[in-house]
Assembly symmetry: C2
Homo-oligomer: 310 residues x 2
């Protein structure tokens, strides 16, 4: 059963790991967000792709919630001491990946090819594809000015309210090789419990991807990133309040108009309410506190995908 997962960072990576464990080798294709990629200390960093890679390979740090387990910070401390860029947390283990990827990109390898090599090096049978090989960069328009994603999220601690978002470069970008084929061959499409505005919309902004999902002949299932109307972590609830006027399941569904057949929500947000988008609601426990919980949520999501189309 081929499944395509549209996926952002940490939360999405957990569901990716759950699906990865349930599906047969090669059946899962993760299409990852590159809108918050950045250059730091001269290196290309793809935080969302890395979260998925680390999550699938079991290299992630579940306690910190991001980055690698067993991480150390000697290189960053050293760089700071030499007057280098020090605002973005790059661990030593993490740097090994960024160095390897950056060198390949500089040698002209497309991001999708490097990413495939990295997944192979991690021994992963699931496929990880960037939404695009072209530079698409999420910018946030706030009352304090317009900021690149990481500048807003990390350097400014996502304190500025967000009025709108710009996916720079999206208009002229093309889906990475394999993305549209994977969508065409999918038996189900899943949208991860990631931030719609900064994780999923930048994927959908790549011409061809939204249209492919709109034209689907299989079911597409979203998983809500909110529990009881609150974000598990990060600024999503505040963003939704301001951008779509609320944090109910119906508001989440509204973020994906025309793209969902059902939305998996947390019991805390149920009982499932009717909604303008006419999306079926499936209530379960959505907090992925460990990999078992992620598998259970993945199972519920796949079951929702397999239901007879309404």
């Amino acid at each position: 059963m081929n499944v395509v997962l549209l996926c952002g960072g940490v939360g999405g990576a957990k569901l990716a790991a759950g699906l990865h464990d349930l599906l047969a080798p090669g059946e899962l294709t993760v299409v990852g967000n590159v809108g918050d990629d950045l250059e730091v200390l001269g290196l290309h960093v793809s935080p969302d792709l890395d979260s998925v890679l680390y999550g699938l390979a079991g290299l992630n740090d579940p306690e910190r919630g991001w980055g690698r387990a067993g991480e150390s910070w000697q290189a960053l401390e050293s760089a700071r001491g030499w007057g280098g860029e020090g605002w973005f947390m790059l661990g030593d283990l993490d740097l090994g990946l960024h160095l390897t990827r950056s060198q390949a990109l500089r040698n002209g390898e497309p991001l999708s090819v490097v990413t495939a090599r990295l997944a192979l090096a991690a021994g992963l049978a699931s496929r990880l594809l960037p939404a695009t090989d072209d530079p698409v960069r999420t910018h946030l328009v706030t009352p304090q000015g317009t900021f690149a994603f990481q500048e807003w999220f990390v350097a400014r601690a996502h304190e500025d309210e967000v009025d709108s978002l710009v996916y720079e470069g999206a208009v002229t970008s093309r889906p990475a090789p394999g993305v549209l084929d994977a969508l065409a061959a999918a038996a189900a499409i899943v949208i991860a419990p990631s931030n719609p505005f900064v994780s999923i919309h930048p994927i959908l902004a790549v011409p061809g991807i939204r249209a492919a999902i709109e034209a689907r002949s299989v079911r597409s299932i979203g998983v809500s990133p909110l529990i009881g109307g609150r974000a598990v972590r990060g600024p999503l609830d505040r963003m939704m309040q301001r951008l779509v006027g609320g944090t109910s399941p119906a508001h989440v569904a509204a973020c994906y108009k025309g793209l969902l057949d059902a939305l998996v929500i947390d019991r805390a947000d149920g009982p499932a309410a009717a909604n303008e988008a006419n999306v079926a609601m499936v209530a379960t426990d959505t907090l992925m506190s460990d990999r078992d919980a992620a598998r259970r949520l993945a199972q519920t999501t796949l079951e929702a995908a397999m239901e007879a189309q309404s």
Copy 2:
């Protein structure tokens, strides 16, 4: 008393530290070799400049003999795991420097400007100048082929005999800003106990530097890198045997024809013999087993420089 030291890596860095300690702040200018600079994991690495920087700042690892004390290797191990370049030993602390420098170079800053910033960040009053901002790269011609320095030294464990050396890019290179001025303002010139062929000759190959030393009006003192005709470490004795026919003080002096007034040699190589190059020999203990020993050797060297010109 302004002193200019022409200097390679580890051995030279020790004498640099000794001179740094003896001279008043700002009096020492180290002109460092860039012939064994390389790109590894997409980063610009300047091993000799770094050895001097680490040596002067007391950050070097005296036990290992190169690199930084307290070093760890997480990033390199990680890079290897991801299929990245792993043949060149880059520690985590070391990487902090390479990342900072590489980013600056990529932003268009000349190597001499980055190097000055790094020395400042380390709180050093001594000046560290690359011989040139232009790419000069040492290649070794061997019966097995021609190799870039680090390929020969590290990857091939300097096992191939050396028939000759090529300093690629030297002909069109220019001395880095400050190098010729420092030589003109020097009260003494010192050539460090580095490998003449791979550390000092690439400096002298930058047009203008050799001529400035040949035309000196002050004394120029060399310090022999050999003790009892043997290299303290590395392949120098084998190279000298093949390239200049021996490892006596006279053979060392012959490597610097026209550039030395005196050569500081080890007692193991004395008593001082007459030599074709007509260089005075000063015998002392040249093994720099610690920083005190380096200061003593620096003192003897400065005394030799201050002797009435013969």
